[in-house]
Symmetry: C2
Subunit: 406 residues, 2 copies
């Protein structure tokens, strides 16, 4: 029931990247649950990871390996998060890296592991390792769609974005896939995302590119306020395209690349919200007129995390009092409610802190009946603004999370 | 489906207090929706109110009136919150106070108004005022149970507590009623509560008593993290019992009174959580081993507000990984996950940040099958502790808030 998500678009191959899926049958028995992404030598990688203190074993290992060298492969499994598993979990993650490294002829620390699924259960290493040879034999540059499916857990649709663009007149390609539908909150990457480009970029510049893009994409979405233990976002640049090396954030090419990365990450982040567990609405929350961006975000997330606001959206009920109550409890000490305005799409609901004189229930109802809604709040205090995306709270959200051990 | 709440207990009359209910038919057509609590001259009152910036018109008026004089009556209506209604809402609240004052022969500012219900709808003043004479004609010292029913909105049961106790050997009585089931979060009083005693207490001492009690009762509960626009808690002391005047917080009598008020407020606060919208579980969260109480509360509320933890409790699923993930994203910079332990009732689940060696799924399941559960988290860092109460997130919560305009 993903909101406004059509079929997976064409995902262009990226020179220097090959992918394959495999079946270890760890949790899902009737579909691939392993993905290998092979990276050509000479590529650069940058990443951001969850800030959850209980970060999963694969996050600890991936962070350490990335600090040591450039990765030659990503190894992803779905269905088991290998989190809350202590030292044994770390050993399991390393064993899997070593097994793949042996198959590919690289070092263990050149493999970055990623896991999502149930927290607190031991990762079964043997079926994982046993599935690798068959998986690797299928590595292909055109494996993107399969990989997008292979990393899914409670996702209802595979999610990916691909663009052909130009860097100083030279053709380049960027392709990314993402998984995530629940335990989504913006305290960093908030899901698994793998984006690759054939542009040539130095490592520091690539890290700057990922840092900039995550701030206004994956760090601006929330489904349920729960930050996962396993969130990871990796950006790879193979350098096998025709465009020259980007080695400075002040270059024209960097601006061009950063713009495309921003588009791709925003679209992938929105795709997570559109495919949020039980979602029936895709809601954009724009808060303007704050003194600082942090203030605008505080208001936006207080609204987005309110179960009462989320159930009103689910019911298509223009019960704007719940939005107003959420704004009022946001931690903005100097807020003057008499300067607050609220809009649902084109309909002004609240002026100067009270119901607008031209507002009528049928006008509010007409907007709430839509599946994509823009909620705008103007605080009337300053020049800052922020934009986030969220979903509603439906029966299916409860159903999915009460019935599925995720 | 209130968890562990039996019938409304006997509510003892309190000398100097008379109550009555009336029917204005504002939202509820087949039950009383108005309550008048008449207070004898010479009584003292103290109150705490919501900190929501969009506080309702009656809260603004009650705060102002209480600052001017001692109240002679409380006027409560259910079904319409008179919030988000601007200057017109203030005028309406004042009109209702004046109408009751005229009937009772007191001044308008000696009436404190309280409203709960739908936010953002205009309060219909005429049916309200028209219902007052019949209501007042029924004023009675034994009207507590009716009043407890009259203030309900989405509550499924009437909630009240009554105690006979001693102050320095002299008998005294305390009786309180409360309403609240949703939009409950601990940023202060978080519902309507009216508690009266026939003890004699000076106003400053009474305010200190209310401030102390609220910190560990109404400010320690959460249903959905939504702080209402209308929360109010009033403590009245009529001075018509036999105990001597309490005019100092250093007296033995103050300690005795404060202890009883703490018991009554805690029991009423817990009753709100037991009757939380859609609740099937009553969950006590104890966090120990923090460096500060604020740190323990941050961890406790992060767990209590997690939709994933709440749906796992609803499902009776010992999916403790969600509890661990919530602790990990709590804003405790110095948290070392290797010192964290987690218990569900008598079962130790997590030791030193990973699953305990003696934990088994059947042992966790046995606890999760209970309707009342103690979740204990030890942070292993310091001497501070905090305790809060919360409920689960069920299909009925979504049903109630998607289908009922509350």
């Amino acid at each position: 029931m993903a909101v406004g998500l059509s079929q997976l678009p064409t995902l262009y191959p990226v020179r220097g990247i090959r992918l394959a899926v495999g079946s270890a049958g760890i949790k899902y028995k009737d579909r691939p649950d392993l993905v290998v992404i092979e990276i050509a030598p000479g590529s650069q990688a940058a990443a951001v990871f969850t800030r959850n203190r209980f970060c999963a074993a694969p996050v600890t290992v991936a962070r350490k390996h990335l600090a040591q060298t450039s990765p030659r492969a990503l190894l992803i499994n779905a269905g088991n998060a290998n989190a809350g598993t202590g030292d044994l979990g770390l050993a399991h993650a390393l064993t899997c890296c070593d097994a793949l490294a042996e198959q590919l002829g690289c070092k263990g620390e050149e493999v970055l592991p990623f896991s999502t699924g149930v927290i607190g259960e031991c990762l079964p290493v043997k079926p994982f390792v046993d599935a690798l040879p068959a998986c690797i034999s299928r590595l292909s540059a055109s494996g993107w769609a399969d990989a997008a499916h292979g990393i899914m857990t409670t996702d209802t649709v595979a999610k990916g974005v691909s663009r052909e663009f130009e860097l100083e007149g030279k053709p380049a390609t960027i392709t990314g896939i993402v998984k995530g539908a629940g335990m989504i909150c913006p305290d960093m990457a908030t899901m698994l995302a793998f984006i690759t480009t054939d542009a040539a970029v130095t490592r520091n510049v690539l890290q700057e590119c990922i840092n900039q893009s995550v701030m206004h994409s994956f760090n601006r979405i929330t489904v349920d306020g729960d930050t996962s233990t396993n969130d990871s976002f990796v950006l790879l640049a193979t350098g096998q395209g025709q465009a020259p090396l980007i080695d400075s954030v002040d270059s024209v090419e960097f601006v061009q690349l950063a713009q495309v990365v921003a588009q791709v990450t925003t679209e992938l982040a929105q795709a997570i919200v559109r495919d949020a567990e039980g979602a029936t609405k895709f809601i954009t929350i724009n808060v303007t007129g704050g003194v600082s961006e942090a203030e605008c975000l505080e208001v936006a997330y207080t609204i987005a995390h309110s179960p009462l606001v989320k159930t009103a959206f689910f019911a298509s009920d223009p019960n704007w009092g719940r939005i107003l109550a959420a704004i009022g409890r946001a931690k903005i000490p100097e807020l003057d409610v008499r300067s607050v305005s609220i809009y649902l799409d084109e309909v002004k609901i609240v002026s100067q802190g009270a119901v607008d004189v031209e507002y009528t229930e049928p006008r509010g109802q007409a907007v709430m009946d839509r599946s994509e809604i823009n909620l705008k709040v103007d605080l009337g205090m300053g020049p800052a603004a922020a934009c986030i995306w969220t979903s509603d709270l439906s029966h299916d959200y409860v159903q999915i999370n009460a019935n599925y051990r995720s």
